[in-house]
Symmetry: C2
Subunit: 344 residues, 2 copies
DNA sequence: CTTCTGTGTTTAATCGATTAACTGCCGCGC
DNA sequence: GCGCGGCAGTTAATCGATTAAACACAGAAG
């Protein structure tokens, strides 16, 4: 591999390494004569010189590497979009990202933070795959950015999805279609995962603004997969006919998938007999089930970008309050007007 | 952050930096007296010393970082499992992975390879998200491992899924259940993506061994999503009754999802009226659709591990032939015996 | 003919470790 | 009493860049 050193270029061009360094880095290029500059550049190109970043980093105390520690890159299809956002920004600024997956294990997390600190990454991003409130792990450098989570203590830049607003948009979509009996198929209660609570707040807010009295029976919970969504939906169907919902807002797309199944088993057609809105915009589900699902998208790519921009210092941030990133509505075909009462 | 240098430890312990280095690295710990060793360790702990990997790398010419360049981490839910495998092995050997996503863009790929080379990563992994034959990009260091792709020219270690064998297992599952009219819902023809051809070979091989004459009408193609799978399946349903398949092997789970839709629209029940086998074991689909899908899993985690092990030199590899990694059968509920002819 | 002022380039220190080669000392054998 | 070997560490070179400070030379000013 590239065994060519700067001194080789210097010899080839008949100058000192200082000159080579100045020419190639652009610094003080006004102090070096054009002829010399050309000679240096030619020599460098001729012998195929590529700078050794390790040596440069040692001297400049900057590695141009950003550490990204995440709990689980493996088990969620979201991870990629966050990484992609961070990666794109890093690349555009000539930086590299060093990724560590900690499997949500405290010991591994500590080890990862140490390794990255030892490697002298310029900054760090601490990412979690589900919007949470976390305790900032010890040893994090001051220039750490929290991604899709926020530190309980505050004091760090952080970005999370605006889940309350997402709940608003989703519910409003249903209200706008004419629904009045709107259920919320929620995740199990968990105080660390704040998305569930926030989306519920948004849901209630819209009901209030539409003058709809919330029916507690329409707020059901289940584990956050298709099975849980199906079971929760079946609970709703068990209600007396006049209390049954004409529309369901599901905590996520997987639960929505379960709601589809429950509906079909009952002979209900979507969106004719039942409207459904999901959350997450999981490509594999939302775009592919039948009919395609109207859902609220999580801004993972944008959050990844934002976090990296702050980490690189090219964007200002507020250390006291996390940035709430907008969750856009993705309209597909699972929402329609409520069925007209029998015998229309 | 850690501004503590080795010389600070040396002063605190009243020895030279050479001694500190030897004690802390373990090398030549037989040359240093136990008392001195203890003194050094205490001093290091007391002032919170952490070695500077950049300086060490410069001296030792090893960075303990492995570069991983991949085409798309963003758009596939598989990526995570490959990364996780590679990451786990790297961690267990005290290495870090530097990830670059190139968006399948040649210019970005070149730039990434340069950046990683400049950063003096110890080895590189060149990953693609779909099993392919690729031209090895210029500039790749000699110790590069190909992951989920193999270089057309050969000469590098590479690992890919054993797609032919996957086709065999899938088809055999259907034959074993008693099916004789088995369709293959294939991806569009594409010579670079070799999975399609290989799985088809496996499919034909099993038909042959079972003494079934392949019916060309049962080999249909479509784009590799639910829509494509549904359209292709509907083609099959359009066949005269006696030529229609009782079982379908789908190129991937998304197409299988489309096959489900087509079946339900026709009033067919799975697996009673139609058996289906998918490929990929996409968690979000396979485990969650109704009924859960029997499918062939892609060994992404294992491939990621293997590639990293070879990159770190802890595993031997053959540079002439890619390793074919086994694709295990995941049995769920979408396969049953063929329906007995009407009026059983 | 000095002294001064800019240019253009070089010298050398530095970043923080690793490690080959060396030193000083003690004990032992003859 | 002298030399030799082994122990316990130290000295100093090295990795490959960056960069402040020094320097050499030419032309202008006095």
């Amino acid at each position: 591999m590239a065994r060519v050193r700067m001194s080789d270029v210097a010899v080839a061009a008949g100058v000192s390494t200082a000159t080579v360094s100045m020419v190639l880095s652009g610094a003080g290029s006004d102090r070096i004569s054009p002829q010399t500059q050309a000679r240096v550049r030619e020599a460098a190109a001729a012998i195929g010189y590529a700078p050794n970043s390790v040596a440069r980093s040692l001297r400049t105390q900057r590695t141009r590497m950003i550490g990204l520690v995440s709990d689980t890159i493996a088990t969620t299809p979201f991870a990629g979009r966050m990484l992609a956002g961070a990666n794109d920004v890093a690349r555009d600024h000539g930086n590299l990202v060093v990724l560590v997956n900690t499997d949500d294990d405290a010991a591994q997390e500590r080890q990862a933070i140490q390794a990255l600190t030892g490697q002298r990454v310029d900054a760090m991003i601490y990412a979690r795959m589900w919007h949470r409130v976390v305790d900032a792990p010890a040893g994090l450098p001051a220039d750490t950015v929290f991604l899709d989570c926020r530190p309980a203590q505050g004091g760090w830049p952080a970005v999370v999805p605006d889940d309350r607003r997402g709940g608003v948009v989703a519910t409003r979509e249903l209200v706008a279609a004419g629904h009045r009996r709107i259920a919320y198929v929620d995740a199990p209660r968990d105080d660390e995962v704040v998305a569930s609570r926030l989306r519920h707040e948004g849901y209630l807010e819209v009901l209030a603004e539409a003058g709809i009295t919330p029916d507690p029976a329409l707020h059901v919970r289940g584990i956050t997969d298709a099975g849980g969504g199906r079971a929760a939906t079946e609970e709703l169907f068990a209600l007396p006919a006049e209390r049954r919902p004409t529309a369901i807002f599901c905590f996520n797309d997987r639960m929505a998938m379960g709601a589809y199944t429950a509906a079909y088993r009952r002979g209900l057609r979507i969106p004719d007999d039942l409207s459904i809105v999901g959350y997450d915009d999981q490509q594999l589900i939302a775009a592919e089930i039948d009919p395609p699902l109207t859902t609220v998208a999580l801004p993972h790519y944008e959050m990844g970008r934002w976090a990296m921009e702050v980490a690189l210092g090219v964007r200002e941030s507020d250390r006291d309050a996390p940035l709430l990133m907008d969750c856009p509505m993705i309209r597909r075909d699972s929402v329609g007007p409520p069925p007209t009462p029998a015998g229309n």
